[in-house]
């Protein structure tokens, strides 16, 4: 199994979710995240005091997938998340030892 993690622009979340649903993914985890990449942050002004805000809001999506689905899934996420502008984010995958469905105790691919 693989854990696919995508850190993307918050406003692309709906597109990515729809694309994953169409692909047949049943579950995912979304967390609010903040960070920066090459685009760095933006400037804010409070009564003339200017601040550079480095950490910009992102969402992190985590999906568990079978090895055979992983590459195709990554493509789906990347395509749905892309706007072509700087700050679109990153997607990566890691191998996963095991996964357990808490309600039933099923293990491995059956738990997905």
């Amino acid at each position: 199994m693989k854990l696919i993690t995508a850190v993307i622009k918050p406003h692309r979340l709906d597109e990515v979710k729809d694309a994953l649903t169409a692909f047949g993914v049943h579950g995912l985890t979304v967390t609010e995240a903040s960070g920066y990449g090459r685009q760095r942050g933006h400037t804010e002004v409070y009564r003339g005091a200017e601040y550079t805000v480095d950490l910009v809001p992102k969402v992190r999506i985590e999906i568990l997938a079978e090895d055979s689905d992983a590459e195709a899934l990554i493509d789906v996420v990347v395509k749905a998340a892309r706007t072509g502008k700087i700050g679109d984010g990153k997607v990566w995958s890691l191998p996963v030892d095991t996964a357990i469905r808490v309600r039933t105790g099923e293990r491995g691919p059956d738990a997905l």
Partner: protein
């Protein structure tokens, strides 16, 4: 006092009361989240302390001489109304008109005494002991506000005698609080991390809500100072709206040109700057004068708030930049802009000289006495928070609370009374919530 005047001033008293919670929100939204409750409480506590002192001796020290024929010298009132003994005179026709007038005027003026020390709290955000702040308020109103309000507004007050125009409190409230704030900041010092760490406002909608309440209540503050529902009150109310609007626009234009954006904080701050500047002046200028005072106050205060970075004093929420500078603008400009077609005084160099005398005597007195007072508190019971308290946030340190709990996982908190002591557990006992 006539029934019409009484009803007008009572309603205005309630409007002015609303300004202090409004100020609390205005300031509370501007600080960081860890000390937001403390900032709110620094204003709120003034409602408690000053109300008590006002009836005990404050009103008497400020306005007692209005009701006395003896010459008190113009510097301070008298002790005739300590505890408001015998002020409520019941006659067969109800409370007497004189007694009604005194009580109504005392209630209205109490609201001014409450908000003035609260205004200073913004300058000391995030770094003073709450108990010391409470002591400071009690002493400050006693040695600074009560005398200065007497000078400006009491019938025998010396600045009143000099015909200084201060209709609703440009000197007694705003220059007074602004100069005091500057002195207190110089004694207390900067917040840890000033100019190094970002100190962004944690809740700008709350700031705007506070500015809204201030703007609303300020009609009572300004028009109510006519003490009667007259044409002067109407002129003051109109000019209050005009100057505030112009100042908001002035601040936003300055910001757009200088920093490239129309900010929410700028709109709120500009409105307050306009309210401050029209406070002394609004009953003496025509509507064009009010617009001019407003736009000048908005643009100049927008610039003045940057002075603290250049000069290195940490007036955290810009009490100096908005209230001292705005108060000076209104108090000085009315010297030239006062129109004898609107009120009894015509502007000119002579009146400007009187305005300058009023403005700078209040500024100097407040600065010096506040500096001494803050130093005394710092040297005795301590005024500044410990570094640990300041870094961790004052909400936990002084109020045992946190302002917000937005996470679904919560903070892992349980009521202390529901946790059985280990000895009880050993004995097999269980505390049960009723």
């Amino acid at each position: 006092m006539s029934p019409a005047d009484t009803s007008f001033v009572l309603i205005c008293s309630a409007l002015v009361m609303l300004m202090t919670p409004g100020l609390a929100f205005f300031y509370g939204g501007m600080v960081r989240v860890k000390s937001a409750l403390n900032m709110l409480m620094m204003s709120f506590i003034s409602l408690g302390i000053v109300s008590v002192l006002w009836v005990l001796y404050g009103f008497s020290l400020t306005f007692g001489s209005n009701y006395s024929t003896a010459d008190d010298g113009g510097l301070i009132g008298n002790l005739d109304f300590i505890g408001f003994a015998d002020t409520i005179a019941l006659t067969p026709d109800g409370i007497s008109p004189d007694s009604t007038g005194l009580i109504t005027f005392a209630l209205f003026q109490l609201m001014f005494a409450i908000i003035t020390p609260a205004l200073m709290s913004g300058a000391l955000a995030d770094r003073v002991k709450f108990s010391s702040w409470a002591v400071f308020i009690a002493l400050w109103v006693t040695v600074v506000y009560f005398p200065v309000a007497h000078w400006v507004w009491a019938a025998d007050g010396w600045l009143f005698g000099e015909e200084v125009i201060d209709f609703a409190g440009g000197t007694a409230v705003h220059i007074n609080a602004g100069a005091g704030a500057l002195a207190a900041v110089l004694v207390i010092g900067k917040r840890k991390g000033f100019k190094k760490e970002p100190m962004r406002p944690h809740n700008l909608p709350m700031v705007l809500l506070g500015a809204t309440l201030l703007w609303f209540g300020w009609f009572g503050f300004n028009a109510g100072s006519a003490l009667s529902p007259t044409g002067t009150a109407a002129v003051m109310a109109l000019n209050t709206q005009l100057a505030t609007a112009a100042a908001m626009v002035g601040w936003l234009i300055y910001e757009r040109v200088r920093h490239g954006a129309f900010t929410t904080l700028g709109a709120a701050s500009g409105a307050v700057a306009g309210l401050v500047a029209i406070t002394p002046s609004g009953a003496h200028v025509n509507p064009m004068g009010a617009l001019l005072i407003g736009v000048v106050a908005g643009a100049v205060c927008a610039w003045a708030v940057s002075l603290k970075f250049k000069l290195g004093y940490d007036d955290s929420l810009d009490v100096v930049g908005v209230h001292l500078v705005g108060g000076l603008i209104g108090t000085l400009m009315v010297g030239f802009l006062a129109s004898d077609k609107v009120n009894t005084i015509a502007g000119g160099f002579e009146q400007f000289g009187k305005q300058a005398l009023g403005a700078f005597s209040v500024l100097a007195y407040s600065f010096v006495v506040t500096f001494v007072l803050a130093t005394l508190i710092q040297r005795t019971i301590g005024f500044r928070s410990s570094e640990e308290e300041e870094v961790a946030g004052l909400d936990l340190a002084y109020h045992a609370e946190t302002g917000y709990d937005f996470t679904q996982t919560g903070t892992g908190s349980v009521p202390v009374s529901s946790v059985p002591a280990s000895a009880d557990l050993a004995a097999g006992e269980k505390k049960v919530d009723a």
